[in-house]
Amino acid sequence: MDFAFLYETLLTILPGVPLTLKLAVGSALLGLVLALILALMRLSGVKPLEWVARLYVFVLRGTPLLVQIFLIYYGLGQFPAVRHSLLWPFLREPVWCAVLALTLNTAAYGSEIIRGGLLSIPGGQIEAARACGMSRFLLFRRIVLPLAIRQALPAYGNEFISMVKATSLASIITLMEITGLAAKLISETYRAIEVFIVAGAIYLAINFVLTRIILFAEYRLTPHLRERPGGVPSIDDRLDPAAAAAEGLPGGKVH
């Protein structure tokens, strides 16, 4: 194999890493906020809010991300009203269009994950908090949200990884992130396999680090599932995981 070329390829593609990370982090965070809002709308019990959230998730999950990107980037530019609006300084920039599309897309998937997390909270926990006289907000902040996050984290971790992969589509709207630079290099050198190996390795490295971070967060959030120092098992450890799941306890699986 031509190592000199691989090295050259690496040097050409590495400058795309910051943009990939910016897109991934930006849209993952914004998407998380939107996902939470959507999940709360779904569970609000207010019918119109519920329908809006349902329709949103249905449309965004039922169409390819690439179509959504094109619709936002090229589609909205078609209308003079949009081009003369206050939003145009944002929509004019391909970066913001990409962030917007990725955010809207991940929020649809994320809201389902969060909804699952919220639904998994055992009724007993909420009743106990009410019995202690917690206000609605306090109950949400102290009990519901932490439990939901803990439950949703593994699935949301996968969503973060999908997000990193999805940033590659930004290359289609002129953004020179990792895949954009790789595609350009392929069309200049016609050496698809080498370029693929280098670009693929960079993505794998990013996702490897991301996976570690998520595992660490999971570890920190589930102290009750860890072995106690001195080998005294916690109450949950003594529970059979299947029984724990049946009772709706959040820690059904032992890591």
Binding site: Y74, Y190, I193, E194
Partner: protein, 282 residues
């Protein structure tokens, strides 16, 4: 062990990619690739069929060569890899013969030249770019062309220019204006037109033929062709038929047919129909 062998074979493939393996065969059927999105050279109609200067031209050339031809559309940046991978035998896609491309494929004699120029919006301050239509050849007067670029630099400073990826205009931009303008690369020329009209970019650069037809299309009333025309040298000899290196017999056939079409005025007639000006190479 079998897997190791397979991998070795796959890796071997890397070094072989792009190499020519033409067998001496009698050409009876030629598969031609085009882009189908490069007016007026080639485009796709609403019913999915192909049309344009090159579509008429290839039919004429194939009749002269007495071979059966098919034409299919492919994205522009995949044309050369697809040719070398054997998906097609020839490229007729408004592709200019450039030294860089000639490293990987071979070209026939040119069948059309138009030069590269700019387009912008009517109300842009770039609409008054000087030397409109003046031709600067990188082949015969490189110093003059370079001086012209220097003259344009103050006007272009900080502007955003849209260009098609892996096109000759992109190579030219990167050589002459890389530090002056912001370059945005698009997969198709039609995409940079959409962005020019939307106001995301200030200027596009593409062939004169493409831009003048694009500006004449309904919906593009705000688009105007501006500035000088650059051609020759790194911008190529003109649009030519691309073939695999080693298909020398095919090249000879195309060269002869293009020569005939040029001599009897077919190219002139077709360019009047599609371009509105004569693109016959001189």
């Amino acid at each position: 062990m079998k897997i190791a062998k397979f991998l070795a074979a796959a890796l071997l493939g890397l070094s072989m990619a792009g190499a020519a393996h033409a067998d001496e065969k009698k050409w009876t059927k030629i598969n031609i690739a085009t882009e189908g999105a490069f007016r007026p050279w080639n485009y796709t109609n609403a019913d999915g069929s192909l049309g344009g200067f090159e579509v008429d031209l290839y039919k004429d050339l194939c009749a002269r060569m007495k071979v059966e031809c098919t034409m299919t559309a492919q994205p522009f940046d995949s044309l050369i890899p697809a040719l070398n991978a054997g998906k097609f035998d020839a490229i007729i896609a408004g592709m200019s013969a450039t030294p860089k491309r000639e490293q990987v494929i071979s070209f026939s004699v040119p069948y059309g030249t138009t030069g590269q120029t700019f387009a912008t919006l009517k109300d842009s301050d770039l609409a008054k770019m000087p030397d409109k239509g003046e031709v600067f050849s990188l082949a015969t007067n490189e110093a003059g062309a370079a001086a012209e670029v220097e003259k344009l630099k103050p006007l272009l400073k900080g502007k955003v220019i849209g260009v098609q990826t892996a096109s000759i205009a992109e190579t030219w931009l990167n050589k002459y204006l890389k530090d002056t303008v912001e370059i945005r690369e698009y997969k198709t020329t039609e995409e940079h037109d959409l962005d020019l009209l939307a106001g995301r970019i200030d200027l596009t650069i593409a062939s004169m033929a493409y831009l003048s037809t694009a500006a004449a299309k309904p919906g593009n009333e705000d688009m105007v062709v501006v500035g000088p025309r650059f051609q020759g040298g790194m911008l190529g000899r003109g649009s030519s038929v691309g073939m695999r290196k080693g298909d020398t017999e095919l090249k000879a056939m195309f060269d002869k047919a293009i020569g005939e079409a040029q001599a009897d005025g077919t190219i002139k007639k077709l360019s009047a129909k599609y371009f509105g000006f004569d693109v016959t190479p001189r």
